[in-house]
């Protein structure tokens, strides 16, 4: 069982330590210092502090966390809600799972800091249903917090600071990891993203003002409070401070999690993972989970932070680095990607429902040796018809990787169509 990342910094420092999973062990290793520091400040100050730390959401979009918190309405009588997104459904991403298993108290401490800052009284931690063990771990941590009086009413000696946490087992669909798809699912409805407006900060879970953050985002927050903004900004880049848990998978010698500062060059991360398996040549890397466009060996120098990746036409996403060696057929990769998105589209918006299916059929046909010359034009056009035109970013997530594959590996698609067969017999099986 994976207990500890291969490289650690502050976040996963104690993940190898079983005592860190108990409340007492967590507290004796510096736990709740961040929350206690937050309680010394006014809520607005905490928001300003988190804002100035530059912490970006770790769920994929990379939005400034403090800024997101500041959207919660002030002077609103309604109960305010925090939702912790533990759906982790992005293929290639497996970092939140470890945090839930080994650092559940970090999440809860981060939640309580956010609760103090935003005046929230209730939290839902929604964890993808197949994560049985992480759910158990988080539940155990929540129970221990209640038993110790760290959750409930008037907690941490602050009269009027009430907070309740519900651990919710997700019903399981990629789209239930989308901010508002998750809220629908949490309410017991079919997991379909909501149109905006209204935004969750005004009308979120059960119609209440809501902020949704990723598991890892909450886990970083206590450190910012306990060790300070300057210390936090000592890691990572100016625009993307802190570390993150890069999950490296695919054709590497040592797949796993690596806590490294944001901005670590892509090549160095792959080095840490033991390099490409069997000494083979690198062909392509998906840098941030399956919905992000691929990079090629010429991009190994790119610092893994959003501001640099976006210059190369891709994004950091969830930091799930998927490595493909030279045996990999890129059309097969496109088949896998397009199958996933065809299968996981919620089906509300026309472009996404119909476009994902169309793309998949085209990819399949090309891979099967039945591609036609016009198919590549379609593969270029259809993603363009989907992008930026739907309720949520799923259509973008389905369109980008295909556009990326075509941008970098158009010749492979052309070869498939020209030869009417797949020229990569050694590639993974579909």
């Amino acid at each position: 069982m994976l207990i500890q990342p291969f490289t650690t910094h502050y976040l996963s420092e104690h993940y190898g330590d079983d005592a860190y999973r108990t409340l007492a062990g967590y507290e004796s290793r510096g736990g709740f210092k961040g929350l206690r520091a937050a309680l010394q400040r006014e809520p607005e100050e905490v928001i300003e502090l988190v804002k100035s730390s530059g912490l970006r959401g770790r769920g994929g979009a990379g939005f400034n966390t403090g800024l997101k918190w500041s959207f919660m309405p002030k002077g609103d009588e309604r109960t305010k809600v925090l939702v912790c997104n533990g759906d982790e459904s992005e293929p290639g991403s497996f970092k939140d799972r470890l945090i839930m298993e080994r650092g559940a108290f970090q999440i809860l401490e981060g939640l309580l800091i956010a609760a103090w800052a935003t005046g929230s009284q209730k939290s839902f931690i929604s964890i993808r249903g197949v994560y049985k063990y992480p759910i158990e771990c988080v539940r155990a941590a929540v129970n221990e917090m209640y038993a110790r009086g760290y959750l409930g009413r008037d907690i941490f000696g602050e009269p009027g600071f009430h907070h309740d946490v519900v651990v919710h087992s997700g019903a399981g669909a990629y789209i239930c990891g989308e901010e508002t798809g998750l809220l629908e699912s949490l309410e017991g409805k079919k997991g379909q993203p909501r149109k905006k407006p209204p935004f969750p900060a005004q009308h979120g879970a059960f119609g209440l003002p809501t902020t949704v953050n990723n598991i890892e985002t909450f886990a970083h927050v206590p450190f910012i409070l306990s060790r300070g903004v300057d210390w936090f900004r000592g890691f990572g880049t100016d625009k993307s401070p802190g570390t993150t848990l890069f999950g490296v998978s695919g054709h590497v010698e040592r797949p796993g999690l690596f806590e490294l500062p944001l901005g670590t060059p892509l090549g160095a991360i792959i080095e840490q993972a033991g390099g490409v398996r069997g000494g083979r040549a690198l062909k392509a890397v998906i840098p941030g989970g399956m919905s992000m466009p691929v990079l090629t060996p010429s991009d190994l120098d790119v610092p893994m932070a959003e501001e640099f990746l976006s210059e190369r036409g891709t994004h950091l996403g969830t930091g799930g680095v998927m490595v493909m060696d030279d045996t990999t057929c890129m059309v097969r990769a496109a088949c896998v990607v397009s199958y996933f998105f065809r299968d996981e589209s919620c089906g509300q918006c026309t472009q996404c429902r119909e476009g994902t299916g169309w793309i998949h059929k085209l990819c399949q046909r090309i891979e099967a040796g039945r591609g036609r010359p016009g198919d590549l034009t379609l593969l270029e056009n259809v993603p363009g018809m989907m992008e930026g035109q739907t309720i949520c970013a799923f259509a973008d997530a389905a369109a980008w990787p295909i556009k990326g594959l075509l941008r970098h590996f158009r010749h492979e698609f052309e070869q498939h169509i020209h030869d009417q067969c797949c020229p990569f017999p050694e590639s993974f099986e579909l």
């Binding site: 407006p197 065809r342 919620c346 472009q351 016009g374 379609l378 018809m385």
Partner: protein
């Protein structure tokens, strides 16, 4: 109020509306400004999923859906730019990807939004020959609706209708993504008093009514604006007519009365227009010419009058305001008491259906008639506008019945005169809220019969009553009604228009 510009024209609209709602309120939508849409419907919640109504808004980089974007003061909206047209073409192409091109055998053809928009905003040629996704062909969703799953474009208007309007929630979209399918929930069927509205709001040929499908191509129909006469709501309708036959009623929008809906019972009531009609004039059981029956009725009235006999009037809540006004004047001429009328009731609901199973009880009340189920006291002559009230006429010597339909009780009348249904003449009904609404003829009767008001006038003339020598004219009568009865001020037929007018209280 917010000032917005749409395609370089400035408008003032209410705050808080969506762009589509604002356009709809201005009467511009698809009537000056084209913003095609599928999932949006003025009387349902916003879904925002078809993505066809995308428009360009100055200052916002991405196209926005007009159905869910609130107007802001100073907002500049463009609906005709290259980007907007590109986006529409994209949506149309994607919708047609899996939609069968079976217009020649589809009953929706001619009133299909997919067909219309494909012509107006779509691409001419398919760019793929990939097989279309198979799905179930025509099967019953319930007793009234047939569903063609292949044609469904998943706009979910019907789903929202059943949740929000009929509040029965039988429908849902199951599975997800490309596999999404509209179905009824397991173990249920689409069966509610408003079920057939889903066929009206279905933009394509997926949901059709069993009653209308394959009866006639819609382009052969004239849609005549009229009013349903089955309850005191008076839902506004279009009667689909061809060759002097009605093929269907569909609801006509009137936000003050029925929104865009009508109940299934009312919708199917067009069948009653031709069933069991009273077709022959009769005097004491023997069929006669119409004129002879009118003469016999006139004679009965004159005799009663000359002998100081008692004449009573029975009004009908199915008769028009104008008919009832003629009855009132006739009774006044005869020195008789105001008429009474009987109302049949059924179980109404809090959606559209009212307890009163007739269209014009409110009109009868406004004209000073009162409701009664009591048997009449002894009378020499009763002037009865049908249907015959059960058990009220025992002590009447001569019963003059003017009736649209033949029922067994008609046999008790000494003189029977066939009358026109509201489909065959012009007039107005007053609904339960005092909304006066005009109906116009859409059928020509195939036998001799006249409207209630006309027959009453003919009888009065035959009775040689003073002031009754002119031929009946409904327009004149309605103007006289508006002038004589304060409640009807401004509600003459020529001023009612398509949306009706309020009774003055």
């Amino acid at each position: 109020m917010a000032r917005i510009r749409i395609d370089e024209v400035e408008y003032e609209v209410k705050d808080g509306l969506s762009i589509l709602q604002a356009m709809d309120d201005l009467g511009l939508l698809m009537n000056g400004v084209d913003v095609p849409h599928y999932c949006w419907h003025p009387k349902l919640s916003v879904d925002g999923s078809c993505r066809l109504c995308q428009v360009e808004i100055e200052g916002i980089p991405k196209l926005q859906i007009a159905c869910n974007t609130p107007v802001r003061d100073g907002m500049v909206i463009r609906t005709k730019t290259e980007r907007v047209e590109d986006a529409r073409r994209g949506v149309m192409e994607l919708l047609l990807l899996n939609h069968p091109l079976d217009c020649p055998i589809c009953d929706q053809a001619g009133e299909c939004k997919l067909q219309d928009y494909a012509f107006d905003y779509g691409v001419k040629h398919a760019r793929t020959d990939l097989p279309r996704r198979p799905a179930k062909k025509s099967f019953d969703l319930g007793p009234t609706i047939v569903f063609d799953q292949e044609r469904c474009i998943l706009c979910r208007r019907c789903v929202r209708f059943c949740r929000e309007v009929s509040k029965t929630g039988e429908l849902g979209v199951f599975q997800r993504g490309e596999q999404s399918l509209l179905e009824t929930f397991p173990g249920t069927q689409l069966d509610n008093p408003y079920s057939m509205n889903v066929a009206d709001i279905c933009p394509v040929g997926a949901l059709t009514t069993k009653d209308f499908r394959f009866k006639i191509r819609v382009w052969f129909l004239d849609d005549v604006p009229s009013v349903c006469n089955q309850c005191a709501r008076g839902c506004n309708i279009h009667a689909g007519r061809s060759n002097n036959r009605v093929y269907r009623y569909v609801p006509r929008r009137n936000d003050a009365v029925n929104q865009t809906w009508m109940c299934d019972f009312g919708r199917l009531s067009y069948k009653q227009l031709t069933q069991d009609r009273c077709i022959a004039a009769r005097v004491r059981g023997a069929e006669t010419k119409y004129d002879e029956a009118v003469a016999a009725a006139g004679l009965a009235l004159r005799t009663a009058r000359e002998n100081g006999g008692r004449v009573v009037g029975i009004a009908s809540p199915f008769a028009a305001n104008e008919d009832l006004f003629v009855l009132r004047r006739l009774l006044e001429t005869l020195g008789a008491d105001p008429a009474t009328f009987t109302v049949q009731r059924w179980q109404g609901d809090d959606i559209l259906i009212r307890d009163e199973h007739c269209p014009n009880a409110a009109g009868a009340r406004a004209l000073g008639f009162s409701e009664s189920d009591e048997p009449l006291e002894r009378a020499d002559v009763a002037l009865i506008l049908g249907p015959v009230p059960a058990g009220r006429l025992e002590r009447v010597q001569t019963r003059i019945l003017i009736a649209t339909h033949e029922v067994p009780a008609n046999a008790g009348a000494e003189i029977v005169l066939p009358a026109r249904t509201h489909a065959e003449y012009e007039g107005s009904f007053t609904n339960f809220e005092g909304h006066v609404q005009r109906f116009a003829p859409f059928l020509e009767p195939t036998f001799e019969c006249w409207s209630f008001g006309d027959v009453l006038s003919q009888i009065a003339r035959a009775a040689e009553l003073t002031g009754w020598d002119r031929a009946y004219d409904v327009g004149r009568t309605s103007r006289e009604l508006a002038a004589a009865v304060p409640a009807f001020t401004g509600a003459s037929l020529d001023r009612l228009g398509l949306q009706g007018a309020e009774l003055i209280r």
